[in-house]
Symmetry: C2
Subunit: 422 residues, 2 copies
């Protein structure tokens, strides 16, 4: 770290405190973004293969123009009539299953999941919740309490049960997963909690990015419904086209959730998130309790979100996510053939994952994963790590990434792997 970086780190500590964490041992000071690239003060460009928030690319010109225009015209709340929020809501709902016919806006994905929990408890009159073992669903008190990946500092309530997610690249068609859910429902009942909801990140990111076989959620949804609970598809991580074949990762599983939470990429960086649901759930909740979220669905965030959806469609970003994601995976598999430490290449669309392991024992090696992440950063390529032991490379560039940038990413991964055992 140079002197300037050290100063900034010290100031962060003094002003924001110890809780604020930085990516990389040599943290980056970024000053500019453009497409799939980020730039530091010295003008050095970094291929951003990590940030899923700028889903249509950093500073995408049409999104920027929409925000610039709206912020100079009007920025207000949902207690006045406005056409743009309705046009956006209509367009957004048209991308979901027909049964999902209402949208409530929030400021963050955490607020969306928090609201889903409130709606589910209101609708079912029950308190039991099931999530996966290493789930992450948000930072509010209620969502942190259903996020075991945060550790014991975010204590879970008594009505929570966790179930192991399917293994990456396992062969469970969902039957075994549903069996675990069934037993969790029974244990909840033994403890006096009927089931309100199961909440599942549809890419199971913090459980290690598990997206295949794309059917394993079907039996789980049936099990949840049979118990009178609601199925919440948390699309905050996976939504808005990242999985390639559809805007929503839940659609890959052929399921229709009761509630869907949207967030991070929704405004390409402008804070906006949402809960999509069936009318009887939102109206039942709305009748029971007032809900007004001041900045949620504000005019500027809606303008950004509308531009994002337009860009995904106009630039055919689903198809690009599929083909570029497949290109990344094919390239990683070639590298893995040379370097057996790299294994379990997986994902869907531009959610790409691979583990680092000991080739002799097969044991995962989070330390190697960290080395790869840090060395790639030194080579100007940004990715990160995830998974229960942070053993998994997490690769998720903005959706418009081009083949040349994918090839650059792969070259750098190959070069990094070559240094690993040296």
């Amino acid at each position: 770290m140079d002197g300037r970086a050290e100063d900034l780190v010290a100031r962060r500590r003094r002003l924001l405190g110890r809780g604020y964490q930085l990516l990389y041992d040599e943290p980056l000071e970024l000053v500019r973004g453009d497409g799939v690239y980020l730039f530091d003060r010295d003008g050095r460009g970094y291929l951003d293969a990590y940030n899923n928030v700028p889903v249509v690319g950093h500073c995408q010109p049409d999104v920027v123009a929409a925000i610039q225009r709206q912020v100079a015209t009007l920025n207000t709340n949902t207690r006045y009539l406005a056409e743009p929020i309705l046009d956006y809501a209509e367009r957004l709902l048209a991308t979901h299953a027909a049964e999902l016919d209402r949208v409530l806006f929030t400021c963050s994905g955490s607020e969306a999941v928090d609201l889903a929990l409130r709606v589910a408890r209101q609708a079912t009159g029950a308190t039991g919740v099931i999530v996966t073992t290493n789930a992450y669903h948000g930072v509010t008190m209620a969502t942190a309490a259903i996020s075991p990946s945060l550790g014991p500092g975010a204590p879970a309530g008594p009505g929570l049960r966790t179930v192991a997610a399917p293994a990456p690249l396992g062969d469970d068609d969902g039957t075994a997963f549903a069996g675990r859910v069934e037993r969790a429902i029974e244990v909840l009942r033994d403890d006096g909690h009927e089931l309100a909801a199961m909440v599942v990140d549809t890419a199971l990111v913090s459980d290690g990015i598990v997206m295949e076989p794309a059917s394993f959620l079907g039996p789980v949804v049936a099990t949840i419904r049979a118990a009178g609970g609601l199925f919440v598809a948390d699309e905050v991580q996976a939504g808005f086209g990242r999985s390639g074949t559809d805007l929503w990762a839940y659609a890959r599983h052929g399921i229709v959730p009761d509630l869907v939470t949207l967030g991070k990429p929704m405004g390409n960086g402008m804070p906006i998130a949402a809960l999509v649901a069936r009318v009887e759930l939102t109206d039942g909740f709305g009748d029971a309790v007032r809900y007004f979220n001041t900045c949620a669905g504000n005019s500027v965030s809606i303008a950004a979100a509308a531009a994002v959806l337009e860009m995904i469609e106009r630039d055919r970003l689903l198809a690009n996510a599929t083909s570029m994601g497949d290109r990344v995976r094919a390239g990683l598999r070639e590298i893995a053939a040379e370097h057996p430490e790299l294994t379990r290449v997986r994902g869907a669309g531009l959610y790409v994952a691979a583990d680092l392991c000991d080739p002799e024992t097969g044991a995962v090696r989070g330390d190697l994963t960290k080395l790869v992440v840090e060395r790639l950063r030194a080579r100007g390529v940004l990715i990160s790590a995830v998974g229960p032991q942070r053993e998994t490379l997490k690769i998720r560039p903005p959706l418009p990434i081009a083949a040349g940038d994918v090839d650059h990413l792969l070259e750098q991964v190959a070069a990094t792997m070559a240094t690993l055992t040296g």
Copy 2:
């Protein structure tokens, strides 16, 4: 309502559901904002004497320029180094008591209060919370549970006690209020809950806007501290200069809170909020649990927030809030002398309140308050109602309001009062 408004209302119902409420019997379709004015599709201007979010005025040019510049340059998160967020944090903390030396960013005021509750529980190891009888503190599950003004649809946890707020224009110097808090602490202990925190909106808005005498929080803070609890000043409503004498309404009471929550006006409409606290609270929390809020403190929201703080200082908006607020109150008192239905004119700075009552019995008349609000809207002036029986006129224009606009507001209130008993 004309045909177009009816169509928009029907679309809202069909897309956003029954929970979304509109202001006014004849809802407004707004398309443009400028300073203290909002404009509908027909170009009719409305004096905005209601919205506290656009604290420096709708579409304030310097704030707009800051947002436009930043959104075209870079919009990213707090996991990279950046100077602007540190410059802003430094400036923001300098406006608070010296003991309050760390800031954590969130996306909304609800998230800030929710985080305050998490920090308070972590720091004290306790679960008891005290709020005022008609408090409102947010829409997450945890904050709705400490918002009795939301009614029984937002069920409170067992560790919550409410205490009556001081009466508007009463003579309690805080002794009686502190006595009620003391008894609430005892009842919490009887129920097995040690005190984690008391959370108080420093303008007591939903309890009817109670800001005088500006000392009544002193004894309460001492009582809370003596019981081992933390005092949370919720400045989401009152903060950023609205109370006139200081940026923060808590400062009027001569107190130093343990935690301060900021929100609504912080980004003049861009979603940004924060928790300000002593270092041992934030670092203790940060050590215990990971907290990363993706869009909180993003580059664009920080640019907006920095411009807001700059405008408040450069344009001497505290002084304007004081003098214009006093001008509104003086004018309302003149009108009240003619119309005894108008009573209890109060507030501080540009948080202005007055009640409508039956002049014979003194009983509050929420129906008259609603009439005044609706008739003012018809006359092109926007305010709203608040209070346990919605008996209180809530007047809080953007801080740069000029004397001519205040006089226009007062003329319209006078004309409206003249129609009231007709």
